[in-house]
Amino acid sequence: MSIAAAEPAAPARSIDPAHVFWILAAIVTAAIVMLPAEALPAWARKYPAAWQLPFAAWISSFTKWLMDSASFGLFTVRDLTRAISWLLDQPLSLARAVFATGFVRGQGSDAVTVFPAIPWFSMVIAATAAGYAVGGRRLALGMAAGLLYLAVFGQWTSAMVTLASVLVSSVLGSIGGLLIGLACVRWRWLERAAAPFLDIAQTMPVFAYLLPMLILFGFGPVSAMVATVIYALPPMVRVTILAIRAVPEEIEALGRMTGCTRRQITWKMLVPTALPALMVGVNQVIMLSLNVVIIASMIGAGGLGWDVLTALRSLNIGKGLEAGIAITVLAILLDRFAQALALRAGAVEAEDAARRRKAFVSSALAIAVAFWLLTALFPAIAPYPEAWKLSTAPYWGQFVSWINVTFFSTLEAIRTAVLLNILVPVKRFMLALPWPWVVFLVTAIGFRLGGWRLALTVGLMAAFPALVGLWPATMITVYLCGVAVVIAALIGVSIGIVAAGRPRLWRTVEIVIDTLQTLPTFVYLIPIVMLFRVGDFTALIAIVLYAVAPAIRYTAHGVSRIAPELIEAGVMTGCTRRQILTRIRLPLATPEILLGINQTILLALSMLVITALVGTRDLGQETYSALAKADVGRGVVAGIAVAFIGMIADRLVSAAAAGMKARRGPPQ
């Protein structure tokens, strides 16, 4: 101690109190939990109902007022939402007609098909040509195989309904995100004003959006689409802001030197220069849209999501799995296509090659259209022949029952062991924590990591669930999510470290995590429910699988990015491989790893809500059942509570990572 005090070196001293703080916090927390129940006043053990703020009721009555009596004078809010709904329905109906239903006149059973939807063979030809145009032969083959799979396994119509929704929402989301992003770059105040909304929109579970949409736009595809667009738009806004800011300043100076107007600078210089980065955003929008469109089948989007949902509800694993695989196929096709598109935006091609490619693609498209016209004349050839269809559903069903019969005791033993040894104790612990202490602790950590502003923000967010009477559900959420994050972080960091130095292994890992991340959240549940039935354990596995990817990715990135001179310096001082890892790589990669864990937390929260389908008792269940009862207030409040958990974690972890980075100075 005396040596440390004598030394002027700051780091040695600044670390010490930090340890004291954390140790103290842990000790006090443990002590409080161990106190007998009577030792604490009743209001601390259970938040008194009398102190609750009836937020949910307020929101519910506000929406009711909004929809029933609010008026802008000339027209009511209901008229307005009807008009918007009608407007949004136009592109959506068009896309659905083109891809899935055909153009029909009349209603119900009197409906006459005026013009058929694109038949499956035209679609395969067109998609293959499009795949060839943007991604070459490999993508073309992939597109053909994927679409044929959908046809052969009888998923065609559902898949096309989903595709139509995804396409329309992606277009709207990308364009909307681009425009908002550009406006944010131009007017700083707008960016500042939009930032909290972007945060909430991304951390709030999708279920929570569905409800207000349902109220505003009614049950049906339009509601689903609006929810999808709102969810998919924030990443595009962010990507746009980053991408446009990253355009070298010189480009803008050039624009002004050549006398461009602002509009010309934006559309002729900034946007085209930023295009490759913007396409990455478009890719994200497409994938998020698919994910939400699947979830939104609950409020009438239909398509593959609906198939999975009904199968899950009736525990028809075979059918669910088939639809799930179809979603996976669609997701991979869309992802690869969007990625190829993003790559192409930055690629360069010789003129004659481009011309040949164009000729090939346009003739393929012409053939596809010709076939389509042909089906209008001879409707009989349009549907995929029943006789050529395959279904694996019965086999899957048999397979699952075989597994369950053969391995029942093993699976059950695993499940029980984890439940009894990990899940239940942690859950008890979390529920035993008095709410005032948790709020205080969160505030103190906020102060420690980022000063009073952060303390105030996270403290208020932590108090919110108590205030609205959702404390127990919130703690269950924290418990399930926390356990999942710890497991995902342990697995992810280990895999990341192992894979970082081995390029061949890393490629395999990357393919696996890429696939895991492209899958819509719904799909995870199917095989796990198959093995472990419903409950917390199933939810846990699903969350870990979904949330592990960023932990792996960031760890691998952080560990392999360290300057080679530092490693060489370590080798020269005689470090063993292990010492290089523990003394150099890991400490240096910690900020990066923290950011990865931050992402893992956010993903875990978003997955948590989906797991409400398998009967968890947390905030996800709260939003889900509110949705079923169309109780807007309850759903939104629970959604906000989930968003706040995510934002608290995000703020604290980011502050920790930033503090660490700041102390180390800019990266070498």
């Binding site: 010189e250 100076a253 002004r256 030197m257 006398g259 010309q264 002729k268």
Partner: protein, 342 residues
Amino acid sequence: MSGPVLACRGVAKLYGSGLARFVKNGRLSADPERLAADGVTAAVRDVDLEIFRGETFVIMGLSGSGKSTLVRCLSGLIEPTAGEVLFEGRDLSKISERELIQIRRLQMGMVFQNFALLPHLTVLGNVAFPLGIQGRPKAERDKRAREMIALVGLGGREGRFPRELSGGQQQRVGIARSLAVGPDVWFLDEPFSALDPLIRREMQDEVLRLQGMLKKTIVFITHDFDEAVRLADRVAIMKDGRIEQIGTAEELVLAPATDYVRSFTREAPRAKILTARSVMRPADGEDFAGHVPAGARIAAFAHDVEASQKPFAVVEDDKVIGAIDRLAMIDVLVGRELKAAR
């Protein structure tokens, strides 16, 4: 026209907040200590200069000395916090935005350090870009762009995209683009700093060649004194936002105004900078081995003078104004302080 094309009067550019309190009657009224104490960066301050038609004016200084900021004030891209910038005698800040756009479109061209090529356009598209902005018909702008591309020696590469070119080639595209509109004033902001030394020399030759043909007014920014010496008619040396000295390279070498300027010029290639006039001594009616013009650079005749026992006459307007001998040559070449200059 005889007046300067561009002139600065007390130009200052500050970055920070609440800048108005440092400006009185359009002039900067705060010393560096006060600015620093208030967390304000004076990127440029107290700059007075005049640039004349057809001259190559080089602004030189280390990174962060305010060169880019100054050139952006000169081209009207940013407005100075204090002082005025006159273009052909008119205050840029008093010219309407519309007219300023016209001036920049038609009378100014700029080359950027990192090329600022648009990645989605071909070489032809990039060079034709400013013409497209002016709304010229496609046939005309393509023709003009092709001429410019040929002028910088990239003929045949019109269909390439920027990333398919080397750094030097990319900057040639940047040069062609800036010249496409036929500007009167040509700004080059460290155009060759991102290039390898060999390519850099080649590009300097290119600028000299183009200037020989086109006779533009050039404002050239560099952090390299050798580059300044090769290109400049006059050099301004900047430090911490101020101009330390303006003069020909020879004046800077012979009479550095500050220690900072001296430290820059100490290692300079004197033989290529100094003229016969500045190293001659008075002639005292002796025998001459030959004669050299007063304005000739020493490197051009050093060999002859050294080889001869007798001194050479320095002549101007057919009159002998001085003499130059072997010893003076050796002094210059080994970099000894010059008696003549003292």
